[in-house]
Symmetry: C2
Subunit: 208 residues, 2 copies
Amino acid sequence: SDILKANDLLAQDIKEMLKKKQIVSWNIMGSPGSGKTSILERLIPMLPGDVKAAVIEGDLATSRDAERIAKTGVQSTQINTQGACHLDAAMVRTALEKIDLDDISILFIENVGNLICPAGFSLGETGRIIVSSITEGDDKPEKYPSMFKNAHVVLLNKIDLKSQTNFRIDNFTREMKKINPQADIMQISATNGSGFTELVNWVVGRLL
Amino acid sequence: SDILKANDLLAQDIKEMLKKKQIVSWNIMGSPGSGKTSILERLIPMLPGDVKAAVIEGDLATSRDAERIAKTGVQSTQINTQGACHLDAAMVRTALEKIDLDDISILFIENVGNLICPAGFSLGETGRIIVSSITEGDDKPEKYPSMFKNAHVVLLNKIDLKSQTNFRIDNFTREMKKINPQADIMQISATNGSGFTELVNWVVGRLL
Ligand SMILES: Nc1nc2c(ncn2[C@@H]2O[C@H](COP(=O)(O)OP(=O)(O)OP(=O)(O)O)[C@@H](O)[C@H]2O)c(=O)[nH]1
Ligand SMILES: Nc1nc2c(ncn2[C@@H]2O[C@H](COP(=O)(O)OP(=O)(O)OP(=O)(O)O)[C@@H](O)[C@H]2O)c(=O)[nH]1
Ligand SMILES: [Mg+2]
Ligand SMILES: [Mg+2]
Ligand SMILES: [Zn+2]
Ligand SMILES: [Zn+2]
């Protein structure tokens, strides 16, 4: 449609601009409360000292997430979508004006909590990180395929709660193999740090 | 917009039709994996023997949820939205043709897992049940206000996991008081049955 086409043209501009500045960008998506902000809160302080990050936060309302991120010391700006269920390239381009991009090597964009709509809107990102918490159940890839199809990595968060759920990792990985065999899958816990050494290596290994 | 207006007209038809047949209908909404289907699986067998229910299941893909519900013995039909992020009145009217509405006193409609988009589309329901799992965090009402504003009841599910989270019930109820003081709030667990006697009474007390 025309809306999508206009979005993709703008996304392409953003992509080329970030590439010129050698900034890698990650569009972080997942259900409400899957742990996107918690993951960033733990990940950012673990980055090597010479790797500077900035964060664009997207929510319908409140600046709670941007405020949480700001406590880690990095640049953080909040987009409020006023009811829109996904970030789009126009919103991101406006937010980028509020960030000093010199010295930045990673841009994280936390999308609105939504396992469907954000999948359709490129933000000009290098790639997509999908956060799927084990408390949501292991059938999410087949029930929400468009979200998982384009993931570079799926972070299986809240792994600390696994023993209290009926989550079967082999079920999840089998479903992912069908729709997106290239995606990495990482079991992590933002609350106890499990899996974060591997996650930091994954992120740092993909710097430009 | 025109789309919303057309939807609301169709929803009104559904509403009047169900009212004539003395069928109460509940639009069940919540994030992916918040426990909507699990709640129905436990609730339906607990209904009094003379209270017949039917269920319309909405998902992007798969018939997994309708199959789970069918095991309880009630009529259950699956809508696959083919990518649409919410059910609308047109989809529900088509699904209603697959259900024998005689003898039914309750229609449950499980909406697509999404804490944003379904709020904008009336299905002709009597009212809305919002499922918010405590694992998602206690800031969801303020971050996703359109969903919580129109709830008749909020089911705080997965209360069995409360001790392993930082969920503060008073935070949640205080936020709900600001945006929707009329809504009932019930703490429940679909896995261990906690709160279900009260939930059954709430549902049965609202039969037509
Ligand atoms: N047990 C456990 N809880 C977690 C973990 N990660 C996050 N949480 C909790 O999950 C809830 C939601 O975390 P957030 O980081 O706010 O989730 P989010 O995905 O950013 O939420 P939205 O931005 O609103 O979509 C909070 O109560 C966190 O403490 C984890 O690994 N284990
Ligand atoms: N610990 C715990 N887990 C629960 C509870 N209710 C549901 N679950 C688990 O949560 C996961 C998702 O449950 P579902 O009932 O499929 O959730 P849903 O909201 O219907 O999911 P979608 O239809 O995909 O949006 C499953 O692994 C359930 O076993 C509960 O009260 N406590
Ligand atoms: Mg967040
Ligand atoms: Mg379900
Ligand atoms: Zn949308
Ligand atoms: Zn939508």
